[in-house]
C-alpha cells in the first residue's frame, strides 16, 4: 500500500466529495421535505433536477447563439441560469403534485409512489422528445467559462477549480436560506405544522393544499438549482442524468433521517464524501481488482445497511407506522 499516494490525493478527494455532497444535499432536500408533508417518495424529483439542468443549458446555448455569452459577466450568467432553473423546476414540481399526486392523496401508500414512477418516466421522454425536436440532440454540453474553469493551486498536488468553490458556496447559501425559511418564518411554521399533523394544522387555519404545493415549489426549486450546478460542474446533461443522482440523494435523505431538513444536508455531505473516497481509493485498496465503477454499489450498500440498522437515519426521529 502506498500511503504516500493515499495522503497526497486526500485533499483533492475531500474537495470532490464536498462538491458532490452539497449537490446531493440540495437534491435530498426535495425528497425529505415532500416526505415530511406527504410521506411520499417523490420519485419524479430526480427528473425535476434534470429539467433544471436543461433549463440552464438551454439559456446558455441561446445566449451563445446570439453572441451575448462572451459579453456578460460569467457570474451574472450563472446567477441568471440558477434562478431560471429554480423557477422552472419549482413550477414543474407544483404541476406534478397537482396532476399526479393530489388526486391520490387518500389512496394507499403504494399508489402515489407508482404514479410518481410514471411521472419520472414520462418526464425523461418528454424532455428527450422536446430536445430532439428542438436541437436534434439530447446530450447537451454546457458552454464553458474560462473564469470558472481556472484552477487554484494550493501546494504541489492540490488544486481545485473555481467552479467547485462556486458550487459549494451557492449550495451553502441556499441551505442556510432554507433553514431560515423553515425555522424562522410563518410559512416555515405552517410547513412544519402540516408535516406534524395535517388535520390539526388545517383546523388551526393552515391551508394544507397550498402549503403542500409550496413544499413542492421549494423542494423543486432546490432540485432545479442543483441541476444547473450539476451541469456547470460536470459539463454535460442528458434526459437520464437525473436517475443516479436522484437515487443517491434519496439515500442521503434516508441517511440523515427522512423528513429532517438538517439531516438531508448532513446525509448528503456524508454520502458525497464516502463516494469520493470509494471512487478514489477502492481500486487502490483492493489492488486494482475493484475500480471506481463500484462506487454506485457502495452507495446502495450504505443505503441498505442504514435502513437495516438505523432506519431513522443519523439525525432522524421515530417515524410512526401509519396503521
Amino acid at each position: 500500500m502506498d500511503w504516500q499516494l493515499v495522503l497526497a490525493i486526500l485533499p483533492q478527494v475531500v474537495i470532490d466529495g464536498l462538491v458532490l455532497g452539497f449537490m446531493y444535499a440540495l437534491i435530498a432536500l426535495g425528497y425529505t421535505m415532500v416526505y415530511g408533508v406527504l410521506e411520499l417518495i417523490n420519485f419524479a424529483h430526480s427528473e425535476i433536477f434534470m429539467v433544471g439542468g436543461f433549463v440552464g443549458v438551454e439559456i446558455l446555448l441561446s445566449l451563445q447563439s446570439h453572441g451575448w455569452l462572451g459579453r456578460i459577466n460569467p457570474f451574472v450568467a450563472l446567477i441568471l441560469i440558477v434562478l431560471a432553473g429554480m423557477v422552472v423546476a419549482g413550477l414543474l414540481a407544483v404541476a406534478v403534485e397537482r396532476i399526479a399526486y393530489r388526486p391520490l392523496r387518500s389512496a394507499p401508500r403504494l399508489i402515489p409512489l407508482i404514479s410518481a414512477i410514471g411521472v419520472s418516466f414520462f418526464l425523461q421522454d418528454a424532455v428527450r422528445l422536446t430536445e430532439s425536436l428542438w436541437r436534434n440532440a439530447f446530450y447537451l454540453t454546457y458552454p464553458s467559462f474560462a473564469v470558472l474553469n481556472r484552477r487554484i493551486e494550493l501546494g504541489q498536488s492540490i488544486d481545485f477549480s473555481v467552479k467547485s468553490i462556486v458550487v459549494i458556496a451557492a449550495s451553502l447559501a441556499m441551505l442556510v436560506a432554507l433553514q431560515f425559511l423553515v425555522k424562522r418564518t410563518r410559512l416555515g411554521r405552517a410547513i412544519r405544522a402540516v408535516a406534524e399533523d395535517q388535520p390539526t394544522a388545517s383546523l388551526m387555519g393552515v391551508n394544507v393544499n397550498r402549503i403542500i404545493a409550496l413544499t413542492f415549489l421549494i423542494g423543486g426549486a432546490m432540485g432545479g438549482a442543483a441541476g444547473v450546478l450539476f451541469g456547470v460542474q460536470y459539463n454535460t446533461i442528458n434526459p437520464f442524468t437525473g436517475f443516479i443522482p436522484g437515487i443517491k440523494a434519496f439515500t442521503a435523505a434516508v441517511l440523515g433521517g427522512i423528513g429532517n431538513i438538517p439531516g438531508a444536508m448532513v446525509g448528503g455531505l456524508v454520502l458525497g464524501l464516502l463516494e469520493a473516497f470509494a471512487a478514489s481509493y477502492l481500486s487502490l485498496f483492493t489492488g486494482g481488482a475493484f475500480g471506481a465503477e463500484y462506487k454506485d454499489i457502495f452507495a446502495f450498500s450504505i443505503l441498505i445497511l442504514i435502513l437495516i440498522f438505523r432506519p431513522r437515519g443519523l439525525l432522524g426521529e421515530v417515524v410512526r407506522e401509519r396503521a
Binding site: 422528445l129 425536436l133 441498505i304
Partner: protein, 430 residues
C-alpha cells in the same frame, strides 16, 4: 354464469360464433401478413374465448386450439409473429411472477429483472465458452452440452429464488416504500455487477456480453423426420421456444392459481391489506414475504434461462431499470393481484411496444416519404426524431399515471378486489 342452466341452442350459437371468429381472424392474419389490426383481432379472439359464456372446459379447449395449433401454424408462415408470441409469453411469465410479489403480497419490487438476469446469466455462463475463462482447466467440459439446458431450468429457478431470499432476508422488515427503493438499488447492483464482473474474475464478460449460448437439443427431430417433415433447425427453433415458453407459462398460471387459493395466498393478501392485522392473526410476516419474493423470483429465473438460450447472446443492456418498470406497468395495467389481468397487461404492453409503436413509426415514415400536405403542412417536414417506437418510457409513464388516477384496480380487477369495490365496507377510506 352458474346461476342459469345452459340453453343448448344458445350454447351452440356461442360455439359457432367463437369458431367463426377464430377462423376469420386467423385467415386475416394469414392473408394480410403486415396488418397489425389483423393480428390484434386474432389476439382478441383469445379474450373473447375467455369472456364467452361457455363451460370452463370448452374455454380451455378453444384456448388450446388457438395457442397450440393456429398460432404455431401462423407463426411458421410469418416468423415475426412467432417472435412476438414468444416475447409475449416471456413477459406474461414475468408479469405473473411480479404479480405475486406486488399484486398479492403488496411488496413493491422495482428491481424485478435482476432475478431474470440472474437466471439468464446462470445458463449463459455455463452454456457458453465463457465458463472456460472462469475455469481454464476444464476444457472439454464447457460449454456444457445442450442437454444441460433442462437441469439448468431448475437451477436458474433455484438460483433466482435464492437471490430473492438473500435480498429479502435483510430488507423485508422495511416499510413498503423503503422496500421499493432497496429493490431498485438491488436491480442496479446486479446490473453494475454484470457490467463490471469481467475483472478480477471474468464471470459476465462485462458490457460485451456473452455469446454464443447453447440451445437445447432438438431431440424430437428424428421423430419428425420419420413422420415425413423435413424442417430445418432454423425454422424449428422458434416453434420449439414457442412451445417451451407456452409450457412454462401454463405451469406458472397453474402455480399462480393454486397459490392464490391456498392459505399462503390468503396470507399474502392479508399482508397486503394490513400488515399489523395480519401479524395479529398469526401470519408469519417475514416467512410469508420471503416466500412471495422467492416465488416471484423463481418465475423470472426460469424465464431468464429460456431467454438466454433463445437470444444466443446476452449483455447487461437487457436487464435495465426500464425493463423492471415495464413489467410493473404490465401488472398494474392488468390489475394488481389478478391473474388474467397480468396476462392481458403483459400482452397489451408487449404488443404495444413491439407492434403498435413500431407500426406507428413506420407509418409516419411512409407519410414523410410520401410528402403529403395536410392543412398546409408538408409532412415531409415532420421531424425524423418523432418516432413513437423510441418513446416507450413515455408510454409506460402515461400508463402508470393514468391507471393510478382513474383505475387503480386495473383492466381486469382481481376477483377479491372486484367484490370489495362492488360493495365498499364502511370506513373503507384510508
Amino acid at each position: 354464469m352458474s346461476g342459469r342452466e345452459p340453453v343448448t341452442g344458445r350454447a351452440a350459437i356461442t360455439h359457432a360464433a367463437v369458431l367463426v371468429l377464430i377462423a376469420a381472424s386467423a385467415t386475416l392474419v394469414y392473408a394480410l401478413p403486415r396488418s397489425i389490426l389483423a393480428f390484434m383481432s386474432f389476439q382478441a379472439s383469445l379474450v373473447v374465448v375467455y369472456y364467452a359464456r361457455l363451460p370452463a372446459r370448452a374455454k380451455l379447449g378453444y384456448g388450446a386450439l388457438i395457442l397450440g395449433l393456429v398460432m404455431p401454424f401462423l407463426g411458421s408462415h410469418n416468423a415475426y409473429y412467432m417472435e412476438v408470441a414468444i416475447q409475449v409469453g416471456i413477459f406474461v411469465a414475468l408479469a405473473l411472477g411480479l404479480n405475486i410479489v406486488v399484486g398479492l403480497a403488496g411488496l413493491l419490487d422495482l428491481g424485478y429483472v435482476a432475478f431474470y438476469a440472474v437466471g439468464a446469466y446462470t445458463w449463459a455462463v455455463f452454456g457458453s465458452p465463457q465458463a472456460l475463462k472462469l475455469f481454464p482447466t476444464a476444457t472439454g467440459l464447457f460449454p456444457l452440452d445442450g442437454w444441460w439446458f433442462f437441469p439448468f431450468l431448475a437451477l436458474g429457478l433455484a438460483v433466482a429464488a435464492a437471490a430473492g431470499v438473500l435480498l429479502g432476508l435483510p430488507v423485508l422488515r422495511l416499510r413498503g416504500d423503503y422496500l421499493a427503493i432497496v429493490t431498485l438499488g438491488f436491480g442496479e447492483v446486479i446490473r453494475v455487477l454484470a457490467n463490471n464482473l469481467d475483472k478480477p474474475w471474468n464471470v459476465t464478460n462485462g458490457p460485451k456480453g456473452i455469446t454464443p449460448i447453447q440451445r437445447p437439443p432438438l431431440f424430437f427431430e428424428p421423430a419428425l423426420r420419420v413422420l415425413g417433415f423435413e424442417v430445418s433447425p432454423f425454422a424449428l427453433y422458434p416453434l420449439y421456444f414457442y412451445f417451451l415458453v407456452l409450457a412454462v407459462v401454463a405451469v406458472v398460471i397453474v402455480a399462480n392459481r393454486r397459490l392464490e387459493r391456498s392459505h399462503i395466498g390468503r396470507a399474502w393478501e392479508a399482508i397486503r391489506e394490513d400488515e399489523l392485522a395480519a401479524q395479529a392473526m398469526g401470519v408469519p410476516l417475514v416467512r410469508m414475504k420471503l416466500l412471495a419474493f422467492a416465488t416471484g423470483a423463481s418465475f423470472a429465473g426460469i424465464m431468464g434461462v429460456i431467454f438466454s438460450a433463445k437470444q444466443l447472446f446476452i449483455n447487461p443492456e437487457s436487464f435495465t431499470f426500464l425493463e423492471s418498470i415495464g413489467v410493473l406497468a404490465m401488472v398494474i395495467l392488468g390489475g394488481m393481484g389478478s391473474i388474467p389481468g397480468a396476462i392481458i397487461g403483459a400482452s397489451v404492453v408487449t404488443i404495444l411496444n413491439l407492434q403498435v409503436l413500431k407500426g406507428l413509426s413506420l407509418w409516419l415514415n411512409e407519410l414523410r416519404n410520401a410528402g403529403i400536405t395536410i392543412l398546409g403542412y408538408n409532412l415531409a417536414n415532420l421531424p425524423s426524431q418523432f418516432e413513437p417506437a423510441k418513446y416507450e418510457r413515455m408510454v409506460f409513464g402515461i400508463i402508470l399515471i393514468l391507471m393510478m388516477i382513474y383505475r387503480p384496480a386495473g383492466i381486469i380487477p382481481a376477483r377479491r378486489r372486484r367484490i370489495e369495490t362492488a360493495a365498499p365496507p364502511e370506513g373503507a377510506a384510508r
